[in-house]
Amino acid sequence: MKNRVLVSIAIVVCLLVLGTGLGLFTSKYYHTDAAAKPEIEGLLWPNPKQIMPFTAIDHKGNLFGLEQLTGKWSLVFFGYTHCPDVCPITLSVLNQVHQKLAEQKAENNIQIIFASVDPERDTKEQLASYIEYFNKAFIGLGGTEQQIASLGQQMGIVYFRGEKSSSGEYVVDHTASVFLIDPLTRWVALFSTPLQADNIVNRFLAIQDFINGQI
């Protein structure tokens, strides 16, 4: 009889402890989730997608994979060097972003990556001359179609090659957004067109602040 009372008390105490714990946990969880997620357009939070291992080749001919994304903030744009309108304009905007972040001493840990969706024409040499024309600190990413897809598919990049003209030219329709990957190699934000340098800088700094506070 005494045992049954003791067991009952123990069960009640356990339930109380569990309930309080669960309550505290859920209130904390919902609290941080609701209150801490800032209103930043393009922020993919909570549950940002973890980038899986991939292999591409940079414009200097070196292997470029997950290891090269680790520990840095990466702004990634997919395009091709024969693209006359969207790509040079986007690279100019990213160049301004780079300059503005440098003025604020915030560019140290950032890499800007131009990944080619046109492996046939964008050889290592072609990518190198193109990317260095815009900014010597930028990284051109190429390799085979499969190598570029091994990164691009993870972020839902699409591209379609147009028909070749009689003189052999073709256009490539492609995703025109800029992707942000954090130092833990998580895809944390998407900047959609129209792209504007000040706007990207402000959102980037806000996202960086927020994520640094989470780690």
């Binding site: 060097t81 024969h82 693209c83 006359p84 309108d85 969207v86 040079p88 304009i89 100019s92 905007v93 160049n95 301004q96 040499e125 072609q126 001359s129 193109y130 260095e132 024309y133 699409v158 591209y159 147009g162 003189s167 030219e169 256009v171 329709d173 492609h174 995703t175 025109a176 957004s177 959609s192 067109t193 129209p194």
Partner: protein
């Protein structure tokens, strides 16, 4: 005296006919500078139609390029798609803009290397039969986009 007046009238007439010929005015033409390995570049400009009729831009050429096409960049679900335009209608008494990320001229295969500061002659033919030749400056988009703000 009468001769002087008629001469004056004649000169006024000729001035007005020059103005009438300028039904089309092209301004702010520039070509986006690109590294020498790039064979396709974009050009942008404004075209003003001062006439009371719609006039279509039907073709463009340049001695420095193999050919020129008109294109429009449409963004659909985040994907940039290039759409070739056969001609560009310019409504009466209005201005049409070729600008980055929208309508642009696509210049194929330059016959000599171009660098920022170069002037490139571009010749445009319109549906009313007139031909307009202008010089477009090769500029770096870095500077051009900053000027837009």
């Amino acid at each position: 005296m009468q001769l002087k007046i008629s001469l004056l009238l004649l000169s006024l007439l000729s001035v007005s006919s020059v103005i009438a010929d300028n039904a089309i005015l092209i301004s702010n033409a520039w070509i986006n500078a690109a590294p020498p390995t790039v064979q396709v570049v974009a050009a942008y400009m404004n075209i003003r139609n001062n006439s009371d009729e719609q006039i279509d831009l039907i073709s463009a050429r340049s001695p420095l390029f193999e050919r020129i096409e008109f294109h429009f960049t449409r963004i659909e679900n985040g994907v940039a798609k290039m759409q070739k335009q056969d001609n560009i209608p310019i409504a009466a008494r209005s201005e049409f803009s070729f600008s980055p990320g929208e309508f642009h001229l696509m210049l194929f295969n330059n016959r000599k290397p171009l660098k920022a500061g170069d002037m490139v002659p571009l010749q445009f033919t319109f549906s009313d039969g007139q031909t307009v030749t202008i010089n477009a400056e090769v500029k770096s988009a870095n500077i051009a986009t900053e000027h837009h703000h």
